[in-house]
């Protein structure tokens, strides 16, 4: 189907099913139960899952296929967000121009940065991209304040022009309020809630639009992975020197790959602005660039589904673990005798709330040490354990060199 082989088709269908049913799957615990804390099926987090999934898929096209580690991808994410915001301020609150424009701008910027950075490889390439990203961050935070809003960031305002006619999402205000990002009148924040015996499922428009975009992005990534172009990129990863000696110029392939990857980041940035109309400069900071590296490695470098899983895991920790506080811990361990309860809370305290970084760090270490192929390798091992033969291919995570 869609020009994919059987295996990839089933992968795509599985991902599509997961995306479609996420509001149900991510809310395994009934409302009001003690475990409801761990539910992740609310619009904001689900949107983040798929948006960062897109970001990580794009990053993986560069890092997974060619082995070029970019430490500056947040710059494209941020640029995409700013571009999207400006479309929503100037043109229309409709998300389509915002998303399209953000991809274009991110593509142009990645073309410029890639043109220069790709003259070097290995660690020098990483440092160059990092330098560019930090430059972009500094510019956005201070020098370009008229365009980026500086530290406060950029928001939609009541006095923005939004010049397109009303049915296309134009107009400055609706009933004295700033219009919300929408798709031909469907607001991104609107959702309908379905209570089913204790559970509450929230089906959110913004999430499904992001989800569809992610499926398209995922499909394109599969096609790139399986194309001759993808094969060329894998050849770059395994031995670029040999390629050069055969008389083949790898630069155009690399640049194209870098720009595609940058456009994915821009798409993610544009979607972020469309779901939540606020952009701050810190979206471009090096920590954000580092985060996508973590996501990709955590999920499995060079695998198709890995980066999406990694993105989900990190965002889950960031949003769920950071919200557990001592008060909740005391509730959970209330069944223990007082002394023991306090002891348990003291032991767990450093790992929750503001300590979520620590938990994530430990988990990252464990995965890198015991599952170098990331979550995907974990899944493959599980499958092997349960006796199903995964005959045809050896784990495709083995480094080529």
């Amino acid at each position: 189907m869609f020009g994919l082989n059987k295996k990839d088709t089933s992968l795509l269908l599985i991902v599509a099913a997961l995306v479609a049913l996420a509001p149900i799957i991510l809310n395994p615990f009934p409302e009001g139960s003690g475990m409801a804390q761990f539910n992740a099926g609310y619009p904001d987090l689900m949107q983040r899952f798929v948006i960062f999934g897109i970001f990580a898929i794009g990053f993986n096209i560069l890092f997974g296929l060619t082995g070029y580690l970019s430490f500056g991808h947040a710059a494209f994410l941020g640029a995409g967000s700013y571009a999207g915001m400006w479309m929503m301020k100037l043109l229309s609150i409709n998300v389509i121009p915002a998303i399209v424009f953000s991809v274009i701008i991110a593509g142009l910027i990645s073309l410029a940065i890639g043109w220069i950075s790709l003259r070097r490889s290995g660690i020098y390439f990483s440092i160059l991209t990092l330098a560019f990203a930090q430059m972009a961050f500094a510019l956005a935070a201070s020098v370009l304040t008229p365009i980026t809003g500086g530290e406060t960031g950029l928001q939609t305002n009541l006095n923005d022009p939004r010049i397109l006619p009303g049915f296309l999402g134009g107009g400055s205000s609706v009933d004295g309020n700033i219009p919300k990002p929408s798709l031909f009148g469907i607001e991104m924040t609107s959702s309908f809630e379905v209570p089913v015996a204790g559970w509450l499922w929230t089906f959110n428009w913004g999430y499904y639009i992001c989800g569809i975009v992610m499926l398209i992005a995922f499909y394109i990534a599969i096609r790139i992975f399986r194309s001759p172009f993808g094969l060329m990129l894998k050849a770059v990863k395994s031995n670029q020197q040999r390629l050069n000696y055969t008389g083949l110029n790898t630069r155009p392939y690399m640049l194209a790959c870098f720009v595609i990857s940058g456009m994915y980041a821009g798409l993610a940035g544009g979607l972020m602005a469309a779901m939540d109309p606020q952009v701050g400069a810190e979206r471009m900071q090096w920590t954000a660039s580092g985060e996508v590296v973590l996501m990709t490695i955590l999920g499995g470098v060079g695998t198709l589904i890995g980066p999406v899983l990694g993105a989900g895991l990190i965002k889950y920790f960031e949003n769920i673990f950071s919200k557990i506080n001592d008060n909740l811990l005391h509730q959970w361990f209330a069944f223990l005798p007082d002394g023991l309860e306090d002891l348990m809370v003291t032991i767990i305290h450093p790992f929750i709330g503001k300590g979520w970084h620590l938990t994530l760090g430990l988990m990252f270490m464990a995965i890198v040490i015991f599952l170098p192929g990331g979550l995907v390798e974990g899944g493959q091992r599980l499958r092997k354990m349960f006796g199903r033969k995964s005959e045809e291919r050896a784990p495709k995570t083995t480094p080529a060199e």
Binding site: A141, E151, T152, S173, F192, K323, G353, H357
Partner: protein, 451 residues
Amino acid sequence: MSIKTVSRRGVLKSGAVAGAGLAVPTIFTASSAAAFTNEPTGSSVTLGFNVPQTGAYADEGADELRAYELAVEHLNGGGDGGMLNTFSSKVLNGSGILGKKVEYVTGDTQTKPDAARAAARSMIEKDGAVMITGGSSSGVAVAVQALCQEAGIIFMAGLTHSNDTTGKDKKANGFRHFFNSYMSGAALAPILAKNYGNDRKAYHLTADYNWGYTTEEAVRTSTEAMGWETVAAVKTPLAQTDFSSYVAPVLNSGADVLVLNHYGANMVNSLTSAVQFGLRAAEANGKNFEIVVPLYSRLMARGAGKNVAGIFGSTNWHWSLENVAGAKYAGTNAFVQSFGQKYGFPPSQAAHTVYCQTLLYADAVQRAGSFNPCAVAEALEGFEFDGLGNGPTLYRAEDHQCFKDVLVVRGKENPDNDFDLLEIVDVTPAAQVTYDASIFGGELGSCNPGA
């Protein structure tokens, strides 16, 4: 794999089906039972406390969280009641808000607008918070305020000092109790003139972000109005930790006053640097060289240690206020006592302002008889109150900013302990720091109940 030929008729048909599919579910979204976002239906109501638990302002955030917990305890009838006993409005009786027990959820803003909005959205969408409060930076406050406006939630700003929060970026659903840069400038200028004279030359070092700009502008305008001259204003990166290269040129610039528009760790480092360069002991233009810090906090003073001695600045509130300036500031001692009893040390101004905000919200709901953001906003607009430690205060309707007396403080020469670092020099009456609501631009828009 088969390739279907696409007919015009087919396209039209599928288009119509897709259109119908898109249109149907909006019926569900138009309006369900609730009249506004997160209407509390059970026996409890959830408030969202969104404070920095990590990053540069984590100290302030931790103190804010303590104050929130204390406020919730008092609202639910626990503890000694704190400022509920001194508050001029008496509708709160310790049975929660409108008889519903107050519960809360917390989030970490990381002092980043993005993270702050994510935390706030999760509190609204997942935990059903009906009000969001907190923040320890203007960037975060402005971002979360816009989010709350969009979601139809009341936002009670915490520590945010930029003019923009209730100026350029004000929102109908957002309210601020804390003072702002303009008020700092207006309160400081006369004291500076009295102590340092009318013919000073000032050199500004300004943190390179929104709050820095508005503070620099406020201090410049008000000092220039009384005859000072501004020699130079230099922007310093927010992440800067070593200020020696910025402080070195100051002495030879012809200036005789250094104004540090810095906050938090920035201020601690730049002040330490300035003192190390001998600026305090230096003379310029035949006068003693002086340093001014427009926004002071006890937590900062503790970080800078001995270096703050004799340096002027302004604050929103200080725990010694009632003892120094008299019973007009009733509530201060009640709050300090119940905070001290629970945590063992006096509260900071960040703790005070968020405690007040929580009480003010609860009181407004009680008076309005509804959690509906529009009703609450109406109850808060133009509300005059007393007994929350700042003397008589007005929540101005035009920009949702509180107007109250501003404290001018000075670093103590010989502090007795870690908490007694600032002494109150003067209390500038509210009338002197009041300004016209329209000078910063921006529009409130109309209140949004969501849903």
